[in-house]
Subunit: 343 residues, 4 copies
Amino acid sequence: MIIVMQAGASEEKLQEVIERIKELGYSPHLIRGEQRNVLGAIGDEREKTRLQYLEALPGVERVVPILRPYKLASIEMKDEKADERSIVKVGPDVSFGGNKVVVIAGPCSVESRDSLIDTAKEVKAAGASMLRGGAFKPRTSPYAFQGLEEEGLKILADAREETGLPVVTEVVNPEDVDLVAGYCDMLQIGARNVQNFALLKRLGDVKNPILLKRGMMTTIEEFLMSAEYVLSAGNPNVVLCERGIRTFETATRNTLDISAIPVLKERTHLPVIVDPSHATGVWQYVKSLSYAAVAAGADGLMVEVHLQPEIAMCDGPQSLKPGTFKELMDDLTKFADAAGRSL
Amino acid sequence: MIIVMQAGASEEKLQEVIERIKELGYSPHLIRGEQRNVLGAIGDEREKTRLQYLEALPGVERVVPILRPYKLASIEMKDEKADERSIVKVGPDVSFGGNKVVVIAGPCSVESRDSLIDTAKEVKAAGASMLRGGAFKPRTSPYAFQGLEEEGLKILADAREETGLPVVTEVVNPEDVDLVAGYCDMLQIGARNVQNFALLKRLGDVKNPILLKRGMMTTIEEFLMSAEYVLSAGNPNVVLCERGIRTFETATRNTLDISAIPVLKERTHLPVIVDPSHATGVWQYVKSLSYAAVAAGADGLMVEVHLQPEIAMCDGPQSLKPGTFKELMDDLTKFADAAGRSL
Amino acid sequence: MIIVMQAGASEEKLQEVIERIKELGYSPHLIRGEQRNVLGAIGDEREKTRLQYLEALPGVERVVPILRPYKLASIEMKDEKADERSIVKVGPDVSFGGNKVVVIAGPCSVESRDSLIDTAKEVKAAGASMLRGGAFKPRTSPYAFQGLEEEGLKILADAREETGLPVVTEVVNPEDVDLVAGYCDMLQIGARNVQNFALLKRLGDVKNPILLKRGMMTTIEEFLMSAEYVLSAGNPNVVLCERGIRTFETATRNTLDISAIPVLKERTHLPVIVDPSHATGVWQYVKSLSYAAVAAGADGLMVEVHLQPEIAMCDGPQSLKPGTFKELMDDLTKFADAAGRSL
Amino acid sequence: MIIVMQAGASEEKLQEVIERIKELGYSPHLIRGEQRNVLGAIGDEREKTRLQYLEALPGVERVVPILRPYKLASIEMKDEKADERSIVKVGPDVSFGGNKVVVIAGPCSVESRDSLIDTAKEVKAAGASMLRGGAFKPRTSPYAFQGLEEEGLKILADAREETGLPVVTEVVNPEDVDLVAGYCDMLQIGARNVQNFALLKRLGDVKNPILLKRGMMTTIEEFLMSAEYVLSAGNPNVVLCERGIRTFETATRNTLDISAIPVLKERTHLPVIVDPSHATGVWQYVKSLSYAAVAAGADGLMVEVHLQPEIAMCDGPQSLKPGTFKELMDDLTKFADAAGRSL
């Protein structure tokens, strides 16, 4: 931690800060500058977050953290064997973070048994490795369809039975974690719950791997801190999903932060996938962004597919029809090749 | 709802959209333009959210909603008696939304019995009407202090006993709603949980009034939809709290959206207060923003006060010392007067 | 400047950075940390911007500037006599930065001689101290009204003649600086030109005071750097104007950054005013934000007033009618009083 | 244009709006709804921007534009021959918008004759088609290097002579347009000048093609309106360049809006390229984003390359060394192939 003193802060104030640094268990280190003094505080900041509050002391202008605030999620965890990244396995056949680009596809929400199973067959035939579908839906409006809940979970399990595709679905309430974990292979934490810490902590109690979506308001640092919650709760199997952030631009529902892929790859060993459907909110743009994501190094994609988007109970405008999804998968192969990976 | 067709969309596509509008229970109304056609769909959109998904139909460029998506939170609920706004009462003495500007003050988190009671006495003496203090703390880092939990709730109840100030505290987990409701007068939903719908729905089960904080990336419309969740779950006593939104500016922790006050006053009958401490993150700016909030028409303030900010377990840099809070309250009286209100 | 080395960066890389710091004329100062090393580089950073580029050296993780990058605009320029702030005078009667809150009012653009003079009389009668009106209009669309140009400047000069109000108008082209300076008392640099450095540099050639508007995506630091351009070009009379920044919120045209007032007051000696009309884009919100701005410490306001907003050539929806402006001024007196100032 | 009336607006107010619509030369078309009335105003909105100002009329809630505000930049200009997009030629050998992905490379600023010519040779050898280099530099700080100005233009011309690469450089002042046009093949308008309308209008006076960079604060609609300024001034040769927008995320200098590629391709016939260097500000991320841009359909790239980034006069941290640029070009070939294009 670096503590920058105000220009002209008195020697007395400086000494007070030095004392406080020592009290908090750090070693102070003074650099006298021409215009202002700077203090280094040596020690592991991650156990001792209160050092930030030295900003409240008289004479202190600013406190600058040096270390990243996460540990278990950090790439430095793995640095002895530099190219070892985490592989997160879902069922016997799916691995996130390896050479294969994993594509998850399916509808926004589970609407009926027949439509889900038909969709599952279509996406499997096109080359998808996993099935998605929401049973508990977080909706902005209390009057919007809220999902089939446990009935939806059963339908997801049936679709896995029929097709062999592992399934991922969202959990929104800490009370439902065990229920959802019992039916589904992978648990998704949605964008609106990325800082629902009560929910994150509960994920340590299950063995299922977690698909953690970035919030539309979450910085990359905060996103990794949310992953750290899950890891520190005892669940090491976390896949990160970039799905667009909120900006001033309104041509798309959100703005896909494509740079998050190389930034995350530099900072964490966890696999990173992209959801181009929520990022844009417009099905016409999903293909382009899927190719871009794989080109930028993403370990996978999650794409919304619906048999009849115009009557979907949610997110119709961003859902692909099966035929378009098939085209996407065919072209995606070339980009995966270019990236030295397979589909 | 207005449906804008693409330039040159065929008559056949137009007819298909018209049919779909009818199927969904609306009356279609066609306006033929020089360059493109536009359809009005008449009917109450709020019961029928799927109309938005017409955007997925071929030939449709855009769907523009006309009605606000909330009902119970809408000012139009009250329009027969135009100046009747909701008054939310907390205990016998505190009313949000009336002539009196309500000031809530206290530390970010409950740290110990003694320090909370001392703080409560100080803020009461300075003129505050309610006490705040966190027992369950949503922290970005899993390694940061997470609050005293039930022990903190007991201390809050003791502080009320000692000073007579009603207390407000945050609840973060649906499972804890009854517990927190048993100890505290008012329940706070924090910014990170403003779209935690599982939590919002549970608030209909308690009688306590709710302090709902805007998320740092929540639009005003979404904020009102979150209030609608609580209202439609059966709890009519909601106070809205603007606390800063996330923008590109880093000089302050967040950017106080002062305009939200007149915008909310125009759209909803619910009381609106402001939290200048979280909005800025810097105690030096809290006074200015408090005066501005009351001048702009806020019904109250929530201000962080700590006996020794430099050793606070959280949010020290944005906390006022009791002496500064006293100065704030003294000057605030003048701005409340100018706004035709009392303190 | 603080240079943070990567965890595990070799001693050799560290020595290379130290050598480079010396070459650039700074004194290096090494802090050896538990996980990574940190270097202080002592010397005045403002003359030597290239130090930032040490980030490109192998082994360097990050470079953190310590000093603010502006000098002439900095409050530290004035710190010997702590409460001395700059007063910017316009004509014999108007002073920005003193006890009096200065209100500038008038239409978005000069439309005709008669309408401008009538508006000028109205705003003067209501208590405004200066007249605004655009002759050169930067419009998003090339097909929109671009202003009356020199004819508009003449009308502005006539309005001053008739009413005695000093006039401010925008200049958009370096070639026009002398022309505009010849007709008007104060030159405005609009939000879109806040980083038009060719234009800013030309302002050193005239004696007129400058009204510099913050860009809709300009940080406070960048805004002060733009002021620094004008100051360093030789024109010391700069008034800063906060007018809303661009955020995700669409309920208002921009989001008024009310916190910018105390932040700027802390960092610079220059006067700060607020434009609530452009900030909101909605006339109904202008009163509330005007009161808030003065309560937060603004030295003045710039408000759009039009005789018939519904037929204005630009910005009608945000313009007040003279009657509403009169009400605003009447109530503003109370808030100025509360702030210890006069109107 | 759609005019939404307030709920409960009187018949009289409605009639007044209808009258005004007629006066302005449009045909009004009334849709009576259950809760509020809506008016369509038929006619070409692009010639008549004042219709927006009906929002200032009593009883009007909101005005919603239906047509895109640009004409010459619109894809609809070309829709008779659906797949005909504009090709912008620079010199005899370079075409933007065709099958070939065009790569522009070079330093942020021209620093010396030798270094520029060496860089030009390197980037040509690696496969670049054009050379970039700044002679007039818009810098946030007045104390930063401002460019070699005309001397820099001469060096650029020399580098073209030596290597045969056409050159592009930025122009920042309307007065310099002819000067820059005399030395360079293509004129760049930088991000900070995207709404410098005085500068844009001057570009109609030269024959050189224009590289128009999106501002960090510019919506896609506004960006196309800026292109419309150039096109309507008489210069049809405009290439658009996405270079990152400003968001809350600070891990990168800006956030590359990768979605802008498909959105622009849908709305305009103009070529679209990407500048990954300014978008990220970090050289380590430039390769990933270059591949992503081409995968998403970009017609080209502009990449900063410097012989010794750590001593660059500007933007060192985002500049590639020639060796890294060579690697980028080698891998880019595969992604161009996957996209059905050549390099």
